[in-house]
């Protein structure tokens, strides 16, 4: 079953911020098609009235109190950054879109 087209792969890659070369796209069309085809197995099951499991634990209301705890020193915060000016994390100019 052709579950996935190249256009699907490109759309999803866009959402995931991945750039794929043509060979990889073709490869993923095949692999994702197979795997998603296998996943369609779940449609054999009637899950009407079944609650989804979001958490296996039956816990609710785990909170912390509103107390300030020490932050990282700035140099520790920036320590791993690929590019900084000592104050900010620097990134290539952000285009004004979301």
């Amino acid at each position: 079953m052709a579950k996935i087209t190249k256009a699907d792969v490109e759309y999803v890659a866009g959402l995931a911020q991945l750039t794929l070369d043509e060979a990889t796209k073709e490869r993923l069309v095949g692999e994702m098609g197979d795997i998603l085809g296998y996943m369609d197995k779940l449609n054999e099951l009637d899950t009407t009235g079944i609650e989804p499991t979001m958490h296996v634990l039956e816990m609710t209301n785990v909170f912390r109190e509103d107390e300030v705890t020490p932050s990282l020193p700035r140099d520790a915060a920036l320590m791993n950054a690929p590019k900084t000016d000592g104050e900010y994390f620097l990134v290539p100019r952000i285009l004004d879109t979301e």
């Binding site: 996935i4 699907d8 792969v9 759309y11 999803v12 890659a13 959402l15 995931a16 911020q17 991945l18 750039t19 794929l20 990889t24 993923l28 692999e31 994702m32 197979d34 795997i35 998603l36 296998y38 996943m39 369609d40 197995k41 779940l42 449609n43 054999e44 099951l45 899950t47 079944i50 609650e51 989804p52 499991t53 979001m54 958490h55 296996v56 634990l57 816990m59 785990v62 912390r64 990282l72 520790a76 915060a77 320590m79 791993n80 950054a81 690929p82 590019k83 994390f89 990134v91 290539p92 100019r93 952000i94 285009l95």
Partner: protein, 491 residues
């Protein structure tokens, strides 16, 4: 004797260290020397912290000299899967995208183990971001199976399993999302447990699939497993999903008594998919327990066939969000020469991730995307409820469930990497445990004709690790064989 401290169990080490029969430093040196000798073959360690480990050992010795309690794991060398955050060294998940990343904090388990007197000799190899069953997806190296250097150690915690089986460290930490502790433990012939979800704090565990991940130990025997569980289990206010349930002294559960205990054998697990040789090994193990008075009950887990599809939808969906943060802004790799932010994201991720990680991000993104959420993700969450219910129903009829860990022993390096679906299907016996959130342990139950370990898996009710340990301990005491030194490291 002094040269072979590396061969000892955690219990033997800590008893000797506490009784001042050996210093923690001597044990550490023995372990570091062993790593030097065999890791060239095994390639389990990606980073060895000789100086730091010696300092930690000296601190333990100083505590003892000062008459203070050095802790229940005094001087025990514990290797750390590279998925756990450590202030020492780097934390990379064996991915290029985190090359050189230094965590500003220690994972809660590391803090607790350090407090208990453990010594950390270094970081262990794994599949990139814990995605894989053979450790072949590491961006760093390919770890070998100590029983046959041509074989994989299993995965994703292959480095941890190989290091413990190869006696490079008494204990190693791993993480298990769909079998990543139990399957390599089975492949390498050591003990590994995936605790009940919520038992061990995930703070400092780099997330793969948050609702499935748990940290657990690899040990040489069941007793050591209990010993480490005593230290790492328990509520952590930094992890909202860590359960507020008392932690018993698990070593008290180590009694060889299974009389009247009901062992459930799920009929869906004992099918033709299970190789004859593996089936024989498991049945022999069950016979041992039966001869000691355990009752055998056939149980049914009717949704077993749907577990793999369910698992790969949920874990890839969660992973697609968990891995989004590796974007080259605050840490990690950033592709050079990018003109804008979008290009930065795209080039960084595309250049740094291996294909398995990329594929899972793609699958996870797809199953959550507009128009597919209900058909895949929501459906999988519902089937997860059915799978969990299967287990709860089965546990009405039995106290533990006994199965193989893996349908086959360790395979040859390079043998299975071509077909991802085939690789996913080999997780059949381990992933349901994560979906149901229950504890599962793998322990060796002999060697196959080709000399590779076979793994026995024991599952228990949520938070009933005590019964699980009791069965495992009983089998270990009565199985009538020792695993001994792995073949490839003898002589």
């Amino acid at each position: 004797m002094s040269n072979s401290w590396y061969e000892k169990t955690a219990l033997e080490i800590r008893d000797a260290v506490r009784a001042k029969k050996v210093s923690a430093l001597e044990v550490t040196d023995s372990c570091l020397k062993r790593i030097e000798e065999v890791d060239g073959k095994l390639l389990a360690f990606i980073d060895v912290w000789a100086d730091a480990a010696r300092k930690q050992a000296q601190a333990v010795d100083a505590k003892i000299a000062a008459g203070k309690d050095p802790g229940p794991l005094a001087g025990v060398p514990i290797g750390v899967k590279d998925v756990l955050c450590t202030k020492e060294g780097t934390t990379t998940c064996c991915s290029k995208i985190l090359k050189g990343y230094r965590s500003p904090f220690d994972a809660t388990v590391i803090e607790r183990l350090a407090e208990a007197g453990a010594v950390f000799p270094g970081k262990l190899n794994m599949d990139e971001f814990a995605m894989g069953s053979s450790t072949e997806n590491s961006s760093i190296q390919r770890t070998r199976n100590p029983w046959n250097l041509d074989c994989v150690p299993g995965g994703s915690s292959g480095g941890s399993a190989a290091a413990v089986a190869g006696h490079e460290c008494a204990v190693a930490l791993g993480s298990d999302t769909g079998g990543s502790i139990r399957q390599p433990a089975a492949c390498c012939g050591c003990v590994g447990i995936k605790p009940t979800y919520g038992r061990v704090s995930r703070y400092g565990l780099v997330a793969f699939a948050s609702s499935l991940d748990q940290i657990g130990p690899f040990t040489k025997d069941v007793t050591d497993c209990a010993l480490v569980m005593n230290t790492i289990f328990g509520r952590d206010p930094k992890d909202s999903t860590s359960a507020d349930i008392p932690v018993p002294d698990f070593t008290k559960a180590l009694t060889p008594a299974v009389k009247g205990l009901r062992l459930g054998l799920p009929k869906e697990y004992y099918t033709d998919a299970l190789g004859a040789e593996m089936r024989d090994k498991i049945q022999a193990a069950i016979k041992v327990l039966e001869s000691l008075g355990a009752e055998i009950v056939e149980v049914s887990l009717p949704h077993t066939d749907y577990a793999i599809a369910t698992y790969y939808i949920i874990c890839t969906a969660e992973a697609s969000a968990n891995l989004a943060r590796f974007d080259g802004v605050r840490y990690g790799y950033r592709a050079p020469g990018v003109a804008n932010v979008d290009e930065m994201y795209r080039k960084t991720k595309s250049e740094a991730y291996g294909h398995e990680v990329r594929r899972r991000i793609m699958l996870g993104t797809y199953v959550l995307s507009s128009g597919y959420y209900d058909a895949y993700y929501l459906k999988a969450q519902k089937v997860r409820s059915l799978i969990r219910r299967d287990f709860m129903d089965a546990f009405k009829q039995c106290d533990v469930i006994v199965t193989p860990t893996s349908p086959t022993p360790a395979f040859k390096i390079g043998e299975k990497t071509a077909d991802p679906l085939e690789m996913y299907l080999s997780d059949i016996y381990t992933i349901s445990v994560n979906l149901a959130g229950i504890p599962g342990l793998s322990m060796p139950c002999g060697l196959t004709a080709s000399g590779l370990p076979a793994g026995l898996q024991i599952m228990a009710k949520p938070f009933d690790e005590e019964t699980l340990l009791r069965v495992a301990y009983t089998y270990e005491q009565k199985r009538g064989f020792e695993m001994g030194m792995p073949a490839a490291l003898r002589g």
